[in-house]
């Protein structure tokens, strides 16, 4: 069972590495807002 516990935590760590990063969405919308203003 210890192996399953380590494996499940490892799966989470890998998921964080491959998870999408969309921080630039905010920047884009702010730029649009500024242009509209």
């Amino acid at each position: 069972m210890e192996i399953l516990a380590f494996a499940s935590f490892a799966v989470l760590v890998v998921a964080w590495l491959v998870a999408p990063t969309r921080g630039n969405v905010i920047v884009v919308s702010q730029a649009k807002d500024r242009k509209a203003a």
């Binding site: 069972m1 998870a19 969309r22």
Partner: protein
Amino acid sequence: MPNTISAGDTAWLLASAALVMLMTPALGFFYGGLVRRKNVLATIMHSFFILALISVQWVLWGYTLAFGPDHGGLIGGLDWLALRGVGQDPGPYAPTVPHEAYMVFQMMFAVITPALITGAFAERKRFKAFVIFTLLWATFVYDPVAHWVWGGGWLGQLGALDFAGGTVVHITSGVSALVAALVLGRRVGFGREAMDPHDATMTVLGASLLWFGWFGFNAGSAITAGGLAANAFVVTNTAAAMGALTWMTVSWLHKGAPSVLGAAAGAVAGLVAITPASGYVDVSASILIGLGAGVFCYTAIQLTKRLKVDDALDVFGVHGVGGAWGALATGIFATVAINSGAKDGLLYGNPGQLGIQAIAVAASIVYSAVMTFVILKVIDVFVGLRVPESEEVLGLDASQHREAAYQI
């Protein structure tokens, strides 16, 4: 009778009762942050009012119905009405603490359980209907099921394991929440307008306080201040952490961002799932239980949303599904290496325990659903469950309480 009272056990149990007491106002903040600002005070009032209401109900008749001398495995007798005979000497359930200490610890469980349901009917239930519902539900649902499992009733006799309330607290409240959401119907504007949380910081604060109080909920359920309490403390913290990490990760992969509210909800889901198991499983099992809670509860909430069920604050997904998972996981991962007074589960060569856990889950689901439906229908006839549409649009803070949460 020789005095067998342990100062350590008594101190731990009273401190645990205070920790569990804090969970109900914490739940008010958790829910309060999730509703719109016009309903925050009414939502917090649900939890705060229940703390007062059930405190009195429990000492008058709740405790004796749940823990009084058994009648047919179904209900406790009235021997301890108004706590007659419940005093400073130990009672039958805990030989090393005053009976009153055990009673007040159990009171805090009876308080928080109906408060959990309030998240399902938030933003639309009439206050008077809520008061009557809570009193009837505590008497006719919580007290009997607590007796079945912990008070010498038929599920306890069958061998069902529920260390701190997977069936008694979380399945009963979660299933009742789903029934309440269906009977009351959707909020005005549901699915057409945004109903975003008005203060996510309040919700995270509430979740943090719930996590803190849960140490009393689970580790206090050992009743003794020893190794079993220490193990329950460790597995509780671990499952909460795994629930938070897993929910956040699943929502990140699903919706593209690591949700703060998701992490808070996931921690609660992990706490719910470990509750019945916390006195029977080791730390590796708690990691798997927390992982399962994050996945199953998140999935259940997506499903209820797809079915357009307005369980406003996701009570069924977190408490109903998390409680059922925890109860079944107890039948899988329980081991006498942790608790010599319990039984092994499926993984340790006793598959029958999983069957017993399934019976306990099914019984608590069916009983809670039927009784909650009946109680709600009766109240609807005599009082009316929902506020009028105009009052719902105005908000419950103004229409029900004539107060405002914020002056800014």
